[in-house]
Symmetry: C2
Subunit: 207 residues, 2 copies
Amino acid sequence: MTDSHSGRRLTARGAKTRARIVAAAAELMYVKGVAATTIDDVLAASGSSKSQLYHHFDSKEALVRAVVDHVGQNTLDRERESLGHVSTLRGLRRWRDALVQSNALRHGAYGCALGTLASEVSDHDDLARRALSQLFSEWQGLLADVLRRLQDDGVLKPDVSVDQLATGLIGALQGGYMLAQAERDVAPMATSVDMALAHIESLSTSR
Amino acid sequence: MTDSHSGRRLTARGAKTRARIVAAAAELMYVKGVAATTIDDVLAASGSSKSQLYHHFDSKEALVRAVVDHVGQNTLDRERESLGHVSTLRGLRRWRDALVQSNALRHGAYGCALGTLASEVSDHDDLARRALSQLFSEWQGLLADVLRRLQDDGVLKPDVSVDQLATGLIGALQGGYMLAQAERDVAPMATSVDMALAHIESLSTSR
DNA sequence: ACGCGGTTGGACTAACCAGTCCATCTGGTG
DNA sequence: CACCAGATGGACTGGTTAGTCCAACCGCGT
């Protein structure tokens, strides 16, 4: 648990405050970065007071962990929504299009919410790193499920490793996000993911 | 220029101090992160004084830019060394092996020196971002040169875009670094790069 | 040898920031 | 209604940090 008082009672009012703080912190840390986001920034953005924040979190580190959980759940919920029923190559391409277009709106700025958290936090907080590792693993699982469905339908050759393909796909996505961030242009992200998808398609039975 | 006094004369003594400061800052920022590295940390690690640092750099931001240049040149020099004469698929695989093994020594920790800088600095300092973008572009050029040599030798099909393949390869590499950082295990990095290489090999004329 | 520009040491400051504390308030429960 | 644990406001503190300043020093060019 990331709470300061995991076993404590929590009224609806308190829970709402907590949620407001985490949401504001997540947004700020995504845009400004974790280290550059101060507690006072979070208070101002969430319209709460210091005692409220420290009532719910032991430290800034605990808040960061709550943000990791929050962003992770948001990301996985969205990915479950968009990948859950995909079972065709066309569906996978539509998934790619949605991610590329959404990143294009920001011209690549800020990158992947989960990825930027990971690279800023992994070397500094082992607990947060484990949580992120677990989140990436679940995300990879969602993609592997899609690929397994393709395989079961005979679209993908039976001897390919769907787990490895899923890992490669997330790798290409994350690397693409980073390049897009540096260039302020979605193009390299699209190219990177397209290469992974082209590889997967080259392993389909139709070719 | 990232210097505070670009047009100034610089004695050998001063140049050495400057280099010592940049090298120490680069190492600290790689391990601790840019934001978590304080000026005093750099002074202690480089054995220099505040007036020395501010004699050479206007601000911490200017120091970060110098670090970006330094790390970028180091990375490109190393990559030029290992990619400059590669003109076979086997050579490309050896390049992969070297990167994976070097990252395995740290169990994936800290990631790619250039990549972690990029994700921490891109959204915060536009000048540094442009420099990083340029560095990635040069790196991509080195890989594209290798692929073009393969193409000229008839190993790679003549109709594939070496530029896009090179972008995808760097994307896979960077994404792999990030996943390895989160998992503290090289495996996902190896998998990610291997997928990109497998795709390139699938576009070779021998298949 | 001499002078001047580049170089160095380190004390100092002003701003900032995470975290503490306590007095006050709110709303659910008996 | 009375109680009280949980919730809130915000002033305060101690430590840290980027950046300033000035006096002293070194060494290159003449």
